[in-house]
Symmetry: none
Subunit: 161 residues, 2 copies
Amino acid sequence: MDFSGDGQLFLSTTINGIDAKGRVSVPAGFRAVVKNDPEEKIYVWPSFEGGYLEGGGQALLDRYLALLEEMDPYDDARAAFEQTIFGDTRGLAFDGTGRVTLPKDLIELAGLDGKAAFVGLGSRFEIWNPDRLAERKASARSFARDNKKSLKLPPRPGGGA
Amino acid sequence: MDFSGDGQLFLSTTINGIDAKGRVSVPAGFRAVVKNDPEEKIYVWPSFEGGYLEGGGQALLDRYLALLEEMDPYDDARAAFEQTIFGDTRGLAFDGTGRVTLPKDLIELAGLDGKAAFVGLGSRFEIWNPDRLAERKASARSFARDNKKSLKLPPRPGGGA
DNA sequence: TGGGATAACATGGGATTTCATGGGAAACAA
DNA sequence: TTGTTTCCCATGAAATCCCATGTTATCCCA
């Protein structure tokens, strides 16, 4: 698949506050990614593992949709994915200053308590309780360090280094 | 002869100052490499080992993204790399005079104190505290000296020495 | 091949804009 | 009405833009 067209990726980790109304500022860089979507929204759903949220823009939903269309209509996995991804997905619109209101059930599901960490992962992002994220990050980092040799870059299109 | 501006590769080492706002001039040759990217930015993240930063242009990011997209969606390794690479990567745009602002946490992570050494490595580059870089260079050199017997050039096609 | 003119580069500081966040009014639902 | 959600404005902090300046590299012409 080719992503060089949009060139806009969810990147970096930002921690923002959640106020009493459940409002949280979406990092400006993330907003820029969905800036030109037909509906200027982000879409958020509970992760499979639980404990945090996943999200993305319209482009990501379209890709998931295309993926499911290719699966057998009576595949159990398809039904499960449909149920989990689309059934629990919320489209969240921005207010005038770039915030969204996270539904209470999602806040509880992710254990968010006044703070939310937005983690950019390229074509999608995750929303974590910052403390939980720190734990996972530590283990992810040591894993990546130990296995970095398995992450071998493919040759550049033009050849060379 | 100067290759640093050929618009293809990050080359040579340049030391520039970091001012009180965290701003640092990106070497002109490095800027030329990303000149025609859709987003004229450099992308910087902490190295796996820590102690210095890695960076590149949109092209490098796309290569990492393509690599990760090929992995199993719920492979632990994929999650770890995604988290470590994209979760900590910052896209840095140039100001009118070719500078970027390094985030404070990256400055601390790399131990940068008023100076930053940009080390060109072809398709990517590294950012070091100049003193640390000198140390690493020294140890790399002695390592190479101790192991020089393993560096045996293959014979030239035409024979000769 | 000088040597001055010109352009490119790195750097400094102040002004301006963007961003995240808080509070309250207005619209809506139960 | 009462609680909830959406919209609008205010504010402080931080990031970004803009202009000025010294310095180095490059060009051009005699």
